[in-house]
Amino acid sequence: MARAKKAKAKAKRKAVAKPAKKNAAAKKATPKKKAGKAKKTAAKSAPMPRAAKGKRPQYFEDPAVDKLHLMVMALIEELSVTRDRLDTVERLIEKHGLFQVQEIEDFFPDLQADAERTGRRIAYIRRVMKGITDELENLHGEDPALEFDEVVDVISS
């Protein structure tokens, strides 16, 4: 979601940065006049390139695995970022005296909270494992799953 947001923001920025304005800003800065009070140039940042030029090596037999690996790496990274952010929140909470972070360590959910958590956790795990177990559903079904072409035949008749 963060990425989508970023892309949106980038698109917005792109739309804002008019080329004419950019040139004017560049011109203004080139002659090295007194820096002192630089006139307020359009303080819009320009989008920077994101991909390096040059063919990317393929590391695995199936190029999809390369992509999948990159996705996993990005997820690992974002999880680490989230944990850092949580750590910041905990430290700020303590700094502002809202409660002692030790309370988190000592927290013991009551029955109700525990049941809710367990439910959420199991749903989460099922969602993650769905990719593995999906095909079983077809195997267990009363009718064997149809191949794509067979479905095309069905819908074409």
């Binding site: 080139t30 819009k44 320009a46 989008p47 390096a52 040059g54 910041t88």
Partner: protein, 382 residues
């Protein structure tokens, strides 16, 4: 938080951006410390025995090792992860630079310490093809990205922070350990010299240039680089650090300096980012602009010669996976011959080497250095 000095020109970054940068920093540390050494085990225990069984001999050279290793699942996963860490590194810093660029540019115009450092940007500079064929070490836009117009410092701002993460801090908190390494070598091997004019070729953002300026405060220290955004940023960084150095956008193959101008001409891991033709021109140019008695020192990465096939293969990793392509050729070249062809007398030039300054310092302090490899230096006295 990491130990990079937060000087005024260094990109700051927001919470999550810094967190991503820290993640990349730590990821690279884990890859280097835990995962990479496993490649040797895989080679010794799995790849080499299989090769031996099939060919009745060991792999002869790094290319044979490469052919086998790139099929191994462990090496593949290592390489894919190492490559990803490099891409994530640039991306994590780009977020911050992109947002802070207008502010950084404003700061770049100031000269808070009133240094006398200068900046020269020629009108019609032609970026050499070896810089545009692919983005070196995967920096998006290479050394030449100017997303915000002609006076951009974007490439330099991105490089300064990222290179620290790249080296996992191994180049010191000012990224200047390669400069210090060559300075140390110079002092050891040419004792008592007090150079009046020093040139750092391929200076990027002046990491090593400023080490020279600090080591020889009375000398006139120059840094040149092909990247406009790099030298613009180098100039701003030096001024904000209060260190005087003179930067210009120039190609080291053909500079605008007069003959016999410098006492010392150096470069720090620049040669492997050039080309087979360019390296010859660069050493010839070095010879031209050196005063008689002046000293050339070009430090680069380890040559193939004298390395065992496995270590030599691993040394090529950056060439094949990180767009430092010329490294493969450079590692096979006869550097001394290049110097002799450029005009250095055979008895006045050689390929020598030095351990990193940071490793030497650790040994001096009774600690065990992380890295003890000897970096080759092409040395010549005119």
């Amino acid at each position: 938080m990491d130990t990079q000095i937060r000087h005024p020109m260094l990109v700051r970054g927001k919470h999550d951006e810094l967190s991503r940068q820290q993640f990349v920093h730590n990821l690279r540390l884990c890859l280097a410390a835990d995962v990479m050494p496993g490649n040797r085990t895989v080679y010794e225990k799995r790849v080499k025995p299989a090769f031996r069984k099939k060919n009745k001999r060991d792999p002869k050279n790094r290319h044979e090792v490469r052919r086998e290793m790139t099929k191994d699942p462990y090496y593949r996963l290592f390489s894919a992860s190492q490559r990803a860490s490099q891409e994530m590194m640039w991306d994590s810093v780009t977020d911050s630079v992109e947002r802070e660029l207008p502010e950084l540019k404003k700061r770049a115009r100031g000269n808070p310490h009133k240094t006398k450092g200068t900046l020269r940007i020629p009108k019609n500079f032609k970026v050499p093809a070896y810089h545009t064929a692919a983005d070196i070490h995967l920096q998006p836009g290479g050394y030449h990205a100017t997303p915000d117009g002609k006076d951009s410092i974007a490439a330099g701002a991105l490089y300064d922070r990222s290179v620290f993460l790249y080296a996992i801090g191994g180049m010191g908190n000012m990224n200047d350990d390669l400069g210090k390494t060559v300075i140390g070598y110079y002092r050891e091997n040419f004792p008592g010299e007090s150079p009046a004019r020093i040139l750092d070729m391929g200076c990027s953002v002046g990491h090593s240039t400023l080490a020279w300026a600090q080591a020889y405060p009375d000398a006139e220290v120059h840094g040149l680089d092909c990247g406009e955004g790099m030298v613009r940023y180098a100039h701003a960084r030096a001024r904000n650090l209060g260190i005087t150095a003179h930067f210009s956008q120039q190609n080291a193959e053909k500079t605008d300096f007069p003959d016999e101008h410098f006492d010392v001409v150096v470069s720090h891991i620049m040669l492997h980012e050039t080309s087979s033709t360019a390296i010859n021109s660069i050493i010839r140019e070095t010879h031209r602009i050196l005063k008689p008695g002046g000293v050339m020192m070009h430090l680069d990465l380890m040559r193939d010669q004298g390395m065992n096939p496995y270590d030599s293969f691993m040394m090529d990793w950056e060439a094949y996976n990180n767009n430092e392509t010329f490294l493969v050729r450079l590692r096979d070249m006869d550097w001394k011959k290049i110097a002799v062809d450029a005009g250095f007398k055979p008895n006045k030039c050689k390929v020598d080497g030095s351990m990193l300054n940071i490793s030497k310092e650790m040994i001096k302090a009774g600690q065990e250095p992380h890295y003890t490899a000897t970096f080759p230096i092409l040395v010549g006295r005119k």
